[in-house]
């Protein structure tokens, strides 16, 4: 066996690669459980690709058959129900994990130098995940699939001058139809493979600059500050994976439709919009931002789209907005307060996105649209405030520890 490995290693240094990048890879010894979510995300990506591949072996992207074929998968295909529920709920858990992963990066300053490129690749992966999630939701061809696709593709018409022609090109017709479903299926198949490639680049960038840690300070002494990845972090990641699987499987087996909309079990009908269209929960805060811009007359639609896309794009400039000498918010009292306001605000925006546009709170005293505009202002305000309190030295960071 060792002879064989020697032969291989002389030609492709696998042993060396595994040693330096996995088993003996130096990892900060103080990583907490928030650092589990990267490996959990990779695990979910693999689950999604595996279940997706096997679902693809039964699915037909045809507007006449797509709805029925999903029911065929549910009723007739052996374990088809399991594959579909794993895939549908997998999207939910993938997004929960990614949101925690992003927020962890924001809290501990993992986007700061020298990790900007690592962070940007992550933002691009997040963008692609949202695209993939949206495309996948169209495939069952229920009412929510159809009208979700109609509303989102109609955002393209907000593009000045060429918008109307562009949306016809995307549809391959004059409305969302068979041609649209076909190309969405192909793209839904393609994008996860692109994501997988980007995840490899993400890990390459990570291993070049190494992991951040809860204190946000650099590793001084590799001997004292780090532990080999195996067995210390393989066991920690496996523990987290166990917790994830318990919760994920509970939903798959006991509440598989908790995150799905009942309206999507009605076949797509281009002649009738359901009374209340809601996107999947993971899009809700961004949907609320889109809807909150309604006070600019004929410019509202474009402005809403810009605000929604901007809500993600602002993450690209985050490394330059934060001017603090300290990375981790653990030692930054003002930034920490702003961060938790930001998190609470995202949840509020999600709740607003879930409600109908003309809904009110407190027995009609407060139209949700007012709250939505406020929430949008707070969302972008976080990034502005973070710049203000750090660039003008308003925040006085607490003393940092000497080492991890």
């Amino acid at each position: 066996m060792s002879k064989l490995m020697e032969w291989v290693d002389a030609r492709l240094p696998i042993t060396e690669m595994i040693k330096s990048q996995a088993t003996e890879y130096p990892t900060p010894k103080n990583l907490n459980y928030w650092w589990n979510f990267g490996s959990l995300a990779l695990f979910m990506l693999i689950v999604m690709i595996a279940t997706g591949l096997f679902l693809a072996m039964h699915y037909k992207p045809d507007a006449k058959h797509a709805f029925d074929i999903v029911e065929h998968i549910m009723r007739d295909v052996n374990y088809g129900w399991l594959l579909r529920y794993l895939h549908a709920n997998g999207a939910t858990f993938f997004f929960i994990i990614i949101y925690v992963h992003i927020l962890r990066g924001m809290y501990y300053g993992s986007y700061r130098a020298p990790r900007e490129i690592l962070w940007w690749i992550g933002v691009i992966i997040f963008f692609m995940m949202m695209g993939t999630g949206f495309l996948g939701y169209v495939l069952p061809w229920g009412q929510m699939s159809y009208w979700g696709a109609a509303v989102i593709t109609n955002l393209i018409t907000a593009v000045p001058v060429v918008g109307d022609e562009l949306v016809v090109w995307v549809w391959g017709g004059f409305s969302v139809g068979d041609a649209t479903l076909n190309r969405f299926y192909v793209l839904h198949f393609l994008l996860p493979l692109v994501i997988f490639a980007l995840v490899i680049v993400h890990m390459w960038a990570l291993h070049a600059v190494h992991s951040n840690n809860p204190t946000g300070i650099d590793i001084v002494d590799e001997e004292k500050d780090t532990l080999p990845f195996h067995p210390y972090f393989t066991i920690k990641d496996l523990y987290g994976m166990g917790v994830l699987l318990i919760i994920y499987c509970w939903f798959v087996f006991y509440a598989p439709n908790a995150f799905l909309e009942p309206d999507n079990y009605i076949p797509a009908n281009p002649m009738q919009t359901p009374p209340h269209i809601v996107p999947e929960w993971y899009f809700l805060p961004f949907y609320a931002i889109l809807r909150s811009i309604d006070f600019l007359g004929s410019f509202s639609k474009l402005a809403g789209v810009i605000a929604m896309v901007g809500a993600i794009c602002v993450l690209f400039v985050l490394p330059f907005l934060d001017r603090s000498p300290v990375r981790s918010f653990r030692y930054r009292p003002l930034s920490k307060s702003l961060f938790w306001i930001f998190v609470a605000n995202c949840i509020m925006l999600g709740w607003i996105g879930y409600n109908p546009a003309d809904a009110t709170a407190f027995d009609g005293a407060l139209p949700l649209i007012i709250l939505g505009r406020t929430g949008t202002a707070i969302y972008f305000g976080y990034f502005a405030m973070l710049f203000v309190v750090t660039a003008f030295n308003i925040e006085k960071p607490l003393p940092l520890p000497k080492s991890l």
């Binding site: 109609n154 955002l155 017709g173 269209i277 546009a357």
Partner: protein
């Protein structure tokens, strides 16, 4: 030793090769991009004929045209009056009612909200006696004009013609 004319020659060759490469790639990409545009059979479904003889006063039907819903409403005198009232209001997308109908009792509308393309609910559901879009709360009046909500423009009036008193043809033959 660097010969200056040689340098220029090399710069030119690199530039020319790059230009041909870019133009060639763009040209080769064109059929792929074009393949996404509506195919011939989709374009062929340009017109839809509707029998409006049986449409009673106040009745509205939804007709599929090019995969999109079209509302055909036989307006009552009150609805026509309501539409005329709007002619004097300050509207986001001003248009007189008479410019939006060929025969004033028949209102023909592309039933896709100009905000994000949802189908508005039937006549009488919105303020001003008109149509309410359930998605984001746009209100259109009995002439299909935007009166309230996020939509930027009036409901579009598709190209249509009355073949005879009984038959309405929606769309233009291509």
């Amino acid at each position: 030793m660097v010969i200056e004319t040689e340098e220029n020659r090399r710069d030119f060759l690199i530039l020319a090769t790059s230009a041909v490469g870019v133009a060639g790639t763009a040209g080769a990409a064109w059929p792929f991009i074009r393949s996404w545009s509506p195919s011939a059979d989709v374009l062929a479904q340009a017109t839809t004929e509707v029998n409006i003889g049986a449409l009673a006063e106040g009745q509205m039907i939804t007709i599929p045209w090019q995969g999109k819903p079209v509302f055909v409403l036989h307006r009552t005198p009150e609805q026509i009056e309501q539409a005329k009232d709007g002619d004097f209001e300050k509207l986001p997308d001003f248009a007189k009612d008479e410019t939006r109908v060929q025969k004033k009792q028949y209102l023909v509308l592309l039933a896709l909200c100009t905000h994000l393309g949802c189908v508005p609910q039937p006549i009488g559901t919105g303020d001003f006696g008109g149509f309410l879009c359930p998605c984001h709360g746009s209100h259109y009046d009995t002439s299909g004009r935007i009166r309230k909500g996020p939509a930027p423009a009036n409901l579009a009036v598709p190209y249509y013609a009355f073949k005879d008193d009984q038959t309405l043809v929606i769309g233009k033959p291509v």
